[in-house]
Structure formats: C-alpha cells, structure tokens
C-alpha cells in the first residue's frame, strides 16, 4: 500500500469487466500487471525491508535491555529518500506543479496538527516550514489570484508559472481528530508530498533568484522594520525556536529580490492580428493592475482577525500590514500610526476611532481581491450586514443562474457604477418620504423607491429569465402563450411554431435507439439545469420580497 501511494500506482477500470473478472461482475479493483511489476523493481523496496529489520533488531535489543546495542542500532538507522520517485513521477517541473494542489492542501493540514500524537513532530515541523516557504514565494512572486472564504476553510488560487494551483487551509482551530481516519495513509502521502514540495520550493526560489533556505534581508528594508534587529539564518543554534519565529516573521517579510523588474518585451507572434495583440496587452495590463491592488495602502489587523491569511493576502497584492505587537512578533508599526489607511476589524463596533482610516471587516479584502479592484467600502463597515461572499471559482455559462450580487459586481468591473446613484436616489426619496404625511402615499413611494433601487438588478434578472424561458420553450417545444389582441399574427406564428415542433417530434421519433437515448439524456440534463436555476431564482425572489416586507414593517414601526 505504501509503495502504491509513493509511486502513484492506482487501479484501473478494465474495459471488459466480465472478461477480466472471470465472468462475474462483482466489484473488484484491478491493477495493471505492468504497474505491479514496475513496483517490484523499485530500489526503495529494499530500503523498506532494511528498515523493517532495523525495527525488529531494535525491539529485540530493548527487550534484552542491551543499551549499547540500542545506541549502536540507532546510530545506524537506515534512511531512505524519495527523490528519485519524485523525479520519476514528474519528469518535468510543470508536471509537478500540476499535481501540487493535493500536496499543498495536505501540508497545510498537517502543519496545523498539534505537536502531540497522531504523527511525528518532525513531519509537522517540516510541513510548517515548507508551507511557510511556499507562502513566501507566492508573496515574492505576487502570484495569488483568487481567495475564497468557505465554511470548510480558506481556498487560495495562485498562478505559478502559468499553472493554476489551488489549495485549501483549515481555519485556525484545534481539530477534533476523527477515529475512523487512518493517519498512516495520510502520513505516507504527506511524506511524499513534503519531498515534492521541498524540491518545488527550491526550484521556485531559484527561479526568482532568491536564496533558498529563505533569509530575511535586513539591509534591504530597514526602513520597513526598524525595530526588528533579529536576523534569521537557517543553520543557527536552536532550530525549533527559529522555525516558529520564521513562521511568524516570514509571512510578512519578503526575501530580497535580487532582480529588478524587467519590462515585458513584446514579441509579436506571426499570424496574430492586431486585435489579438491588443487583447493580450490589455489582459497583461489588467494582471499587472491586479498584482498592485493594495500598493501603497497600509493595513492594520485588529487582534480578533485571522492574522496569517490576511497578512498573506495583503502582502501578496503589495500592501503593507501590521498588527498588535503583543499578538505576534514582527509587527512593523503601531495602531496609532497616522499613515494607516485601512484598519481591519471584526467587531460590531469600534470603541476608539481614529480619523483618516477606514475601519473595515475582513471580507472586504477577500472580495476586493476577487473583484480585482478595491470595492466601495460602504458595505463593509463594522457592524454592517455584509453583502454575500461569492465564490470566484464559478464562471457562469449561458443559462446558468447568476446571483444578482455577481451581476452588480460584473457591472462594477465594467466600470459602470449604478450602485451609488441608486443609493443617492434612495436617500433623497427617503427624505421626501419623511416630508410626506399620508401613509398610503408613503407606501407607494416606498415601493417605487425600492423598485428604483433594484431596477438595475431586476432588469438583468428579467433578461435572464427571459432567456431562460426562451430556452425552456425551445427545449420543451412548448406552445407560445397567446395574448389577446393581435390574434391573427400570433396564430400564424403559433401555427408555424407548432408545425416546427411537430416536425421535430416526428424527427425524434425516427432517431435510432442509441441516439435517442443520448438525446434524451442530454435534454434531461439541460432541463434539470434550467429547473435548478429557476428554483434558485424563485427562492431569491421570495427572499427579496420577504426582506422588503420586513423593511416596510420596520419603517412603519419607526414612523409610528
């Protein structure tokens, strides 16, 4: 099993299950014969055997309490390396990067394990070190693209050498260790993943011309951390202490970049039109802009905010970040620093506000990163009901349900700003409302106002719905609804449509059995999708109306 995990051997689904399984269709797993033979040639098998012998000898020596033998055996403890397996499984660096997702998620999980029980302390420390190094690389290369706060953990997506790498980190709480999980399997995976991640880190650091065991360059940014006199070197006396310090400080300090930013040269590719060139250029510019999202902003993290992810994200986009000195070492500036522009806080209210900075909830950082622009701060003040946090990984296709918040966001990205106008309008109208005396009128106005407010949303929604409806109609071949009025015209259209649909039905009748099956399956899938989207839309509508009712009621109560 261990070998299979390390070598990445997986079972295959045979093409003819019955033939392979001697006629029975009972579920069994099948490995390729070639794979198993391949495992037998592995030199690491011998190493494992040696290790087993070593363990046996050691146990015997302990049993006989021959301490000198124990010492001698421990001195000669056999070790093995997985380098060649890494190389064999990933012949090129890009291959390795492609498979990095699981490795990262696993290492991040292991690095949060407690230092006792479950697995070796060395593994945990190694994981911690490697992950911190990796985060540092991401900061240095500014390759983070998307972040997402889910209920499971925090998802990050970075683009490393053109490969999207996604990983998830759990929230920083103690795990309640489940009993039905085989930690040995996970440990074997982690063993391989740490090796892989170590090599990848090495290579990545070198690709940026950084020193690999990462060092903090004191001279380069003295002005950044005047009080921080400590300098870490990888091979000084107490390893453990240093590592813990590393975790704290490295999250915010970039290893020195020896290379200046090189302007991207333009290599016009033959056969590419000017438009495509422009498109590419635009994309490049957008990317650059995204990378420098928080450039020049100074953040301060309040103590209840999860420090590590936020510090990581802010630094990834060029912002400067600090926190309370007592919280963790490596704080660069104080709360009272007047140059702070954004203060991230996760409390219902701020007790002592300093003028000249925004007090914001942490979701603002995440949403801004995903939207690729600094969002308007009004929605994210402390104590305000936050707008929904949307997943940046969803790309809606034609006909999918798009939540209205996303539509708003898309509009914002396009450069329109319908939000503020509507808000202003709302305020104005509210004032007007206050002047009004009669309640009925008020109600009407309220409605209007709210409609105005949601107009943009609704329009989009309506468009969407129309599209959906059209789709359903074309799919189901439903007859068009007839409205009173121009009966003649409609009838003609309807007749035509009916005829077409009948033709289609007749044609479907003539389909071959297999094709018909396929067709029905596809149509079923499409219908289900539409149904789900409609359901979501209906739910949203119900919710919106409920909220409106509530609002109205509260308003009335306030008036009364």
């Amino acid at each position: 099993r261990r070998l299979c995990i390390l070598k990445g051997i997986y079972p295959h689904e045979p093409k003819h299950k019955k033939k392979v399984n001697k006629g029975s269709t009972a579920p069994r797993t099948f490995y390729l014969l070639k794979d198993i033979k391949f495992l037998l040639h592995e030199p690491i098998v011998n190493k494992f055997r040696e290790y087993k012998v070593f363990v046996r000898k050691l146990r015997k020596a302990y049993g006989k309490s021959e301490w000198s033998t124990v010492d001698r055996l421990k001195d000669n403890k056999p070790t093995y390396k997985l380098d060649h397996i890494v190389k064999e499984r990933y012949p090129t660096f890009v291959d390795a990067l492609r498979d990095l997702d699981d490795a990262l998620s696993m290492c991040f999980l292991f690095s949060t394990f407690p230092r006792t029980g479950k697995c070796h302390v060395q593994t945990i420390q190694l994981c911690r070190r490697l992950t911190v190094e990796f985060l540092n690389y991401i900061i240095a290369s500014r390759s983070l693209r998307k972040v997402f706060l889910s209920i499971k953990g925090i998802y990050y997506q970075a683009e490393v050498l053109g490969q999207p790498v996604t990983w998830i980190t759990p929230y920083a709480f103690a795990h309640d260790h489940p009993t039905d999980v085989d930690y040995r399997v996970m440990a074997t995976f982690t063993e391989f993943y740490t090796t892989l991640l170590g090599f990848i880190n090495f290579r990545l650091y070198h690709s940026l011309n950084l020193v690999y065991p990462p060092k903090i360059d004191g001279q380069a940014d003295v002005e950044l951390k005047p009080t921080d006199g400590k300098e870490y070197a990888m091979d000084s006396e107490s390893y453990l202490e240093k590592l813990s310090a590393l975790s704290a400080s490295l999250a915010r300090v970039v290893a020195p970049a020896h290379e200046d930013e090189v302007e991207m040269d333009e290599f016009p590719v033959e056969g590419e039109t000017a438009e495509q060139m422009d498109m590419r250029k635009k994309e490049q510019e957008a990317l650059e802009k995204h990378k420098k999202l928080f450039e020049g902003l100074r953040f301060f993290l309040n103590r209840e905010v999860p420090r590590e992810p936020l510090a990581f994200i802010i630094r990834c986009f060029g912002g400067q970040v600090s926190w309370d000195k007592s919280l963790c070492i490596g704080a660069t500036y104080d709360v009272n620093d007047p140059s702070i522009t954004h203060h991230i806080i996760d409390r219902p209210q701020v007790e002592r506000q300093v003028v000249g900075r925004y007090y914001l909830q942490p979701q603002w950082v995440f949403d801004s990163v995903n939207a690729k622009l600094c969002l308007p701060v009004a929605d994210y003040f402390p104590g305000v009901l936050l707008p929904p946090h949307l997943s940046p990984f969803v790309t809606e296709q034609e006909g999918d349900y798009i939540p209205p918040e996303k539509l708003k966001l898309l509009a914002l990205q396009r450069g329109e700003n319908p939000d503020e106008e509507s808000e202003e309008e709302e305020e104005e109208e509210e004032e007007e409302d206050d002047d009004n005396d009669k309640e009925e009128e008020e109600d009407d106005n309220d409605k209007e106002e709210e409609e105005d407010e949601d107009e943009s949303e609704k329009e989009e929604e309506m468009k969407l719905k129309k599209m959906e409806e059209q789709k359903t109609q074309s799919n189901k071949g439903l007859p068009v609804k007839v409205t009173a009025g121009k009966l003649r015209l409609e009838d003609k259209q309807r007749l035509e449509q009916e005829q077409q649909s009948e033709e289609k039905r007749l044609a479907i009748m003539m389909m071959k059995k297999r094709e018909k099956y396929l067709y029905k399956k596809i149509m079923f899938g499409k219908k289900r999708k539409v149904r789900e989207a409609n359901k979501l839309a209906a739910k949203r509508k119900a919710h919106d109306t409920a909220v409106k009712e509530e609002k109205k009621k509260s308003k009335k109560a306030r008036r009364a």
Binding site: I5, H175, I508, M510
Partner: protein
C-alpha cells in the same frame, strides 16, 4: 584508620512484647498482643480515641509532637531529648552520631611519590609477559568479521542537501511510456457560491430541503455539507469534517480506479436526423373529416368497397353496417347475431360481395348497394353454381342462405368448426382465406367462392396463426404466426421464406401494393418494415407507438402507410419504395393523428386507406 565499631546486636530484653518479631497486623483485630508467662493475655493499652480526642490532645498536650506509638506493643512512647535530636539529624541528612567526622584527612594507600623500592616484593607474573589469548581471540574474531564483510565501517554522513534542483536537466528521454499512459487524478472540485461562509440567501437550504438532505445517504448527497450563513468572519467555526475530506481524497487518489471517459460533447440538435419536411411529402391525411355514428359498441373492423363508394364496418354490437363513404350515411344495417371479428369487401370491382366473420361462420353478403347491374351479376354468379357429381370431403360446410337471410343480403354461409378470426380476399376476388382460432393444422382455410369448395393448405400447425394475406400480384400466401411471417408459394406448394419479425406477438400485417414490402404491427408496440428482396429481417423497426399496435395499412397509390394503436393515435408515415433496387425504402413519419377516445384500454382497432 579506626575500624567502625560493631553495633551491638539488639539484646533480647529490648523486645517488649511476647509475640516476637512478627507482622503486627496479625493482632490487629484482637484486644491483646501475646501472652505472659502465666498464659494470660497481655492487653493492648486502651485506644478508643476518636478524632475529637486526638485533636484535643494535640491542642493540650505540650509533648504531643514527641509522642509516637510503639507498633510492637501499641503503647505511646514519649521520645527523649537525645532521641529527638537523633531524629532531627537524620532528617537533615547528617550522621546520627554527633561525634562522627566525615571529613577526616584521607591517607593514600599508595603514595603519589615514586618510591625506590617496590611495594611488594612479588616477582612479575608470567602472563604479564605473554600476549593474552582471550584478547587475541576477540581481535581475531573482529578481524575475521571485517574480512568477511560482516562489520562495515561506519557510513560517512552524507552531506548532500535535502533539497536541490531536481529538475536541473530535464531530458525528454526520461518521459517514459508510463507517463503517456498515465491518467492524472482529477483535481478537487472547486467550491461554488453555496460553500461560502456568507452565501447569497437563495443558496441556503430551506427546512424541507434540509430534511431531505439529512435523509439522503451520504454518498447520494449532491452537496456534502449544509450551506450555512455566518454574519461575520469571527463567527465561522472550524469545519469538523476537514480531516475526513482530506483522507477521502487520499483514498480516492490511491484506491479509486481511474478510467479515461470520453465525454460526449454533441449538440443535441445534431443528433436529430435530417428528414425531408413532411410538407414536401404531401398528400397525407391531416385532419378529421367525418365521423360515422351508429354503432353502439366497439367497432372491430372496417372495409371499403373497391369502388371507394361504400364502407362496411363490423362491431361488437352484433351488427354490420354499410355506409356511404362521402356522406357518412348508414345505408344498411345487418344484424348478424354475433360479434363481428372481421369484414372484407371483395376486391374485384365487378363483384359486389362482402365476407363477414361471425363466430364460427363466414357470411358472404351481397349488400345490394350501388350499381344494380353489378350486384345483380354477383347474385347470378353465385347462383350459377352447379354442385359437383361426387360429394367431396370438405373441412367446412357450405350452406346456402335461407329465404329470410337471403332477403337481408346473406347469400352463403360457410360454417367452420371453430370461431373464425379473420377473413381476407385474394386480389382476383374468387378465393378467400379464413383464419380459425385453433391449435391444429386446420387454422388456415382457403375457400373458392365459385366452386364452393374449401381446402386446408397446411399439413402441420406451425404455431398460432394471427393473420393471413394474399400477395396482390404473385401467387404467394403470407401467414403470420406469433413471431414469424411465413411466405408460401401457392403454385409450387412450398415455403419460400420465413421472416423474423423481432417482435413478441404479431398483431397485424399489410403488404405494399408493389408486393415487395411488408409491414407488421405487433402487440409490443413495434412496427417492422420488411423488404422482401433485402433480407428476412426487418429493414427497419419503428417504435413510434407507446402501446400495442392493432392494425397497419398501406395506401393503394400513395407511398403512405398508417398504424393504429391502443394509445389512441394513428401515425401516418411516408414509405417511399423506389423501383431502383439499390435504393432502400425511405420511411418518414409525417403525421400523428390524435383524438381517438380510449375505451377499455383499447384505442384504434382498425385503420384503412381509402382506395382512391
């Protein structure tokens, strides 16, 4: 150096009890300890102090701290000052004896100064001059072990760094065949909006949905979590199944069989075959024109006169009605006294005769409709029969109708031994065949009207015959049993072909006027089109109907055929047969005629095209 003074062994009078040095627990439960010389019990001092007494004593007695209980006798002893001092010294870790000096100057046994005389005068041993055998043995053992390679020199610590540039020189040769075959594990699914800690409200599950989610098997659930909304990031708890999920991913990675699946990425519109437009294939019936009202029960069968003017229908209400086709007028009603199973108008336009199956007999009826000359001639034809000299043995009885029957139109009655299912005419109009529901070889009978003569063509029964049919041009005879259609050559009297219908139970059969194509309807809702030149298997099997097919029919002139089914629909199809043998027939459904009410699970029982 003074030898330590021997400690005097404790004198016997020191033992103040008589039991000796035994564990005192043995006397724990007794009031006494041992016996005196007189054999009387020596009682323990009375100790009935409780906690309160103890406390009071502790408070009052100034010597309480130096009072201890003698375990041997159970008596309390007050320690003397010397004893207390001894105890204190021992507690401090000092020697018990006050006068003992532990730091007396040490006197070496051998002086450190080299003396001129040896300490002892003993001569040196011999063994100090010869090498030790034991040591030699040990060394030789080691040497041997080293020679044999059992003992290895300690491995030098390898100084290679743990991490280095593994991919420093990537050579394309190292990409093995394995990597090409490698199926990379699919990546984890990226989270959608519903996984957010603060999702849009529509993604939250309502109460029913939550209930449904809980009742589902964990493997069946579409989401493996319940979407939740938290008001702020601070309120988000740890996800309890995080380790589980990672573990499951690990299991998937090394235990899950992988297979490359080709995703079908076709536009469903492309799957629909391109057929000619029905509009281009006109004419075909599209609308309901007439309803013939009059029967009070199920209409089982229909037949149209060859001229196309008259229609005859048989029904469960024991009547046969004759209609004018164009006006839907009932011209004549003929009560026959039984359920009519089948009617067939003689296809010969010069003869006006209808064969009707009623229970065990077949009636030949002259409806006396239309041209008087025509039906008069028919009557003459029937009456011109001259009985042969010698009576032949016939499987059925030919009976001339009685006078009153004659007045109704019945001319001849052919009485069978069993109930008759179907009757069908030969194209010339002289012969007709009847099917008897029977199991013997007597199922199919061929009758000749002019000679009033019947014969049984088959010697053996080949299964339940469903229907029979004459070939319109050639002397062929089609017999449909449950699963096969057999074609007999009437001239050569032999089996020419056997068609496999691929259906469970054939219900009806019709032949193309060209004579080379047959369609078979079956009760398992299939319609099989046979091309006799092509093969004995169906050229196409059409599964258009949802329920059992009751009847099928070809049009005489147009390339059309229709099938009626129990689902209450009639499907009209365009079935073009080309003269060119290389071109296969083209079958296109052109119209679905709906609107038949379904009674007793029976829909359309018979379909027919008007001959012109």
């Amino acid at each position: 150096p003074s030898p330590p003074t021997p400690i005097p062994s404790s004198p016997p009078q020191d033992i103040r009890n008589t039991v000796g040095n035994i564990p005192m627990e043995w006397y724990q439960d007794f009031p006494h300890i041992g016996y005196n010389l007189d054999g009387k019990k020596i009682y323990k001092p009375i100790r009935n102090k409780d906690e309160l007494d103890m406390f009071l004593e502790k408070m009052e007695n100034p010597d309480y701290w130096r009072t201890v209980q003698d375990k041997m006798t159970g008596a309390d002893i007050k320690l003397t000052d010397e004893q207390v001092e001894l105890v204190q010294r021992l507690q401090k870790g000092q020697f018990g004896d006050v006068h003992f000096n532990p730091y007396e100057p040490a006197v070496d046994f051998f002086t450190h100064e080299v003396m001129i005389h040896p300490v002892t005068n003993r001569p040196a041993d011999k063994r100090s001059f010869i090498p030790s055998l034991i040591e030699k043995e040990k060394v030789s053992k080691l040497v041997h072990a080293i020679k044999m390679g059992w003992i290895k020199p300690r491995k030098p610590k390898d100084d290679t760094p743990t991490y280095y540039d593994l991919w420093a020189h990537e050579d394309p040769n190292s990409i093995l065949g394995r990597h090409k075959m490698h199926v990379p594990a699919p990546k984890m699914k990226l989270p959608g909006h519903e996984e957010s800690y603060n999702p849009p409200p529509e993604y939250l599950l309502s109460e029913e949905e939550k209930l449904a989610w809980e009742q589902q098997e964990p493997a069946e659930r579409k989401l493996n979590f319940v979407p939740q909304q938290h008001r702020c990031l601070r309120a988000v708890p740890a996800y309890p199944r995080f380790i589980h999920e990672r573990f499951e991913r690990c299991l998937d990675l090394y235990l899950c069989p992988r297979q490359r699946k080709m995703r079908v990425n076709v536009d469903p519109e492309d799957l629909i075959p391109k057929l000619p437009k029905p509009r281009d294939l006109q004419p075909f019936p599209t609308t309901q024109a007439l309803i013939y009202r009059g029967h009070t029960s199920l209409v089982r069968c229909l037949s149209v006169s060859p001229s196309g003017q008259w229609l005859v229908s048989g029904s469960d209400d024991c009547t046969v009605r004759f209609w004018e086709v164009s006006s839907a007028r009932c011209m004549k009603t003929l009560p026959v006294g039984g359920v009519v199973k089948s009617v067939a108008w003689n296809p010969n336009p010069t003869i006006c005769l209808v064969a009707i199956c009623v229970e065990q007999s077949v009636l030949l009826v002259n409806p006396s409709l239309g041209d008087k000359l025509l039906y008069g001639a028919t009557d003459q034809l029937l009456e011109s029969y001259v009985a042969p000299e010698e009576e032949r043995v016939q499987p059925v009885q030919w009976v001339t109708a009685s006078m009153e029957e004659h007045s109704k139109g019945v001319r001849l009655v052919i009485q069978h031994s069993k109930a008759v299912k179907q009757v069908t005419w030969h194209g010339k109009g002289d012969y007709f065949a009847s099917v008897v529901s029977d199991n013997s070889n007597m199922q199919v009978l061929i009758h000749q009207t002019s000679k009033r003569w019947s014969q049984n063509p088959f010697r053996k029964s080949k299964g339940l015959v469903q229907c029979v049919l004459f070939h319109p041009i050639r002397p062929y005879f089609f017999v449909a049993t449950q699963r096969y259609v057999r074609i007999y050559n009437l001239l050569k009297q032999e089996l020419t072909k056997k068609l496999m219908t691929n259906c469970k139970w054939v219900s009806s059969m019709a032949i193309h006027p060209g004579g080379d194509n047959i369609i078979c309807g079956s009760y398992d809702s299939k319609l099989a089109w046979f091309d006799l030149d092509l093969s004995t298997r169906p050229y196409q099997l059409l599964r258009h109907h949802k329920k059992a097919l009751r009847s099928v029919a070809f049009h005489k002139h147009y390339p059309l055929f229709a099938s009626g089914s129990d689902d209450g629909t009639v499907i009209v199809c365009h079935g073009m047969v080309y003269n060119d043998l290389l071109q296969n027939p083209l079958l296109v459904p052109v119209k679905v005629l709906k609107g038949h009410a379904i009674t007793l699970d029976l829909g359309v029982l018979d379909v027919l095209f008007h001959p012109t």
